[in-house]
């Protein structure tokens, strides 16, 4: 996210530079608009039957992506179905969910429910 913002700034600077130089920016602008990753993204890795980080704090609007690094499938489900359940994630499969509403979201692996984690979503302001 940090890096992508840096890249985007660089591209914008390049585009502006190109514009001020009287050259067309058309070739540059669609490129970064299409390829830009989520403005707010965060990751949880599943390794050795553990969610890392165990508690993740993000701003509202952040997309959290879980990636399974184990040789065994896992699945993401939340307490009281607070957010949508994932499909079974085989090795290297990912699941993403965008947290629009602030709150504390407890979740667990529905294949191995002793595996638990928490996403804390803070207001944006």
């Amino acid at each position: 996210m940090f890096l992508s913002n840096t890249i985007r700034s660089a591209l914008v600077a390049a585009a502006l530079g190109a514009a001020t130089a009287g050259l067309t920016a058309v070739a540059v602008l669609p490129g970064w608009a299409q390829g830009a990753p989520q403005a707010n993204a965060a990751a949880v890795s599943i390794d050795n039957f553990t969610f890392t980080p165990q508690t993740l704090t993000v701003k509202a609007g952040t997309t959290v992506t879980w990636t399974n690094r184990d040789d065994i499938p896992h699945g993401i489900a939340s307490e009281a179905n607070a957010f949508a359940k994932s499909k079974a994630l085989d090795t290297d499969d990912s699941y993403s969910f965008t947290f629009a509403t602030p709150g504390t979201y407890k979740y667990f692996c529905y294949v191995h429910p002793h595996m638990t984690g928490t996403i804390v979503v803070e207001p944006n302001s």
Binding site: T50, D70, D71, H114
Partner: protein
């Protein structure tokens, strides 16, 4: 061997020593709550002729292809070949779950194609890997006919009452295996009115005694289930899930877990996680296998023989 049955189960080394000695398997008998080894497979075979013998296979994980065993379907096939090579034809087979790895139609198809080569009736209970399809319907469609709830049921064979339980459905965050109130109620009702002298065999995927909570190796509400079984003179609880042999005797109840046919898992706490354990190629088949269980009528004792795919 008699001292090797401890609360934490039979040590793998001890079992392997016995495997080396007998070549094929270990015969456990339980008499008055004290387990001891009777000897070699030949004696077991002779005893089998007098009672009810059935087989247990478990954790076939069809579709698993990771380094711990790139060909789980192949080792299931070897297990079924071992079933077919039994000296006496068993009455039937039970499968204690994780038939498939990811609950895909093709994985269930492959499992059925291989397991049916044993030409035995198979009584299934599901593992958590059999409820991974998005709607959690495939297991029930294929194996759930005549069952209650998420797939529990009971049946009788040769005077023994068999109960298949489901402790892998709709699991709760932070918990282990779970039977749930509806199933417990059914179980209490199922046992009501049965004579205390009826031998009972309970089978379910996740162990019904707590082996290692840090890895979820237990069932949260199993104590409730076991309380309904207290008055019976002979209770045998057969599980899978942990991909290794463990046995424990508590009063009249014998708990036993079977090997997987797919891949071994570490002993409790002996690895960073309970994930598939990669062992040297020449060791793998010593850690996979099947179990044979025999009852002798009117003796209130049972024998469980665990046979590895290769000794």
């Amino acid at each position: 061997m008699s001292e090797s049955n401890r609360d934490d189960g039979v040590s793998r080394r001890k079992v392997l020593e016995c495997m080396t000695w007998v070549g094929t398997g270990v015969l456990w008998t339980v008499s008055g709550g004290v387990p001891h080894s009777l000897g070699i497979m030949g004696e077991a075979a002779a005893a089998e002729a007098k009672g009810l013998t059935f087989l247990q296979i478990s954790d076939s994980h069809v579709g698993f292809d990771k380094p711990a065993n790139p060909n789980a379907l192949g080792t299931l096939e070897e297990a079924i070949a071992k079933v077919n090579a039994q000296p006496q034809k068993p009455a039937f087979m039970i499968h204690t779950g994780d038939i498939s790895h990811l609950s895909l139609e093709a994985q269930f198809d492959d499992a059925d194609r291989i397991i049916s080569q044993a030409r035995l009736d198979v009584h299934y209970v599901p593992g958590e890997h059999d409820f991974l399809d998005p709607n959690q319907t495939l297991y029930q469609q294929r194996y759930g006919r005549g069952t209650k709830g998420a797939g529990w049921y009971s049946f009788d064979a040769d005077g023994v009452h068999f109960i298949g339980l489901v402790n892998v459905f709709n699991l709760k965050g932070g918990g282990m295996g779970d039977l749930g109130a509806e199933q417990l109620e059914w179980l209490e009702d199922d046992l009501k009115g049965r004579s205390a002298s009826t031998p009972i065999v309970v089978f379910a995927h996740i162990p019904l005694w707590t082996i290692y909570p840090d890895w979820g190796w237990g069932t949260d509400d199993s104590a409730q289930a076991l309380s309904y079984l207290k008055r019976f003179g002979s209770v045998t609880v057969l599980n899978g899930h942990i991909h290794q042999i463990m046995q424990k005797v508590e009063g009249n109840v014998t708990f036993h877990t079977a090997r997987s046919t797919a891949f071994p898992q570490p002993a409790p706490g002996q690895a960073a996680s309970p994930g598939p354990m990669k062992v040297p190629d020449d060791q793998l088949r010593k850690m996979l296998g099947i179990a044979s269980v025999t009852f002798r009528q009117n003796e209130q004792r049972l024998a469980i023989i665990d046979s590895p795919l290769k000794s």
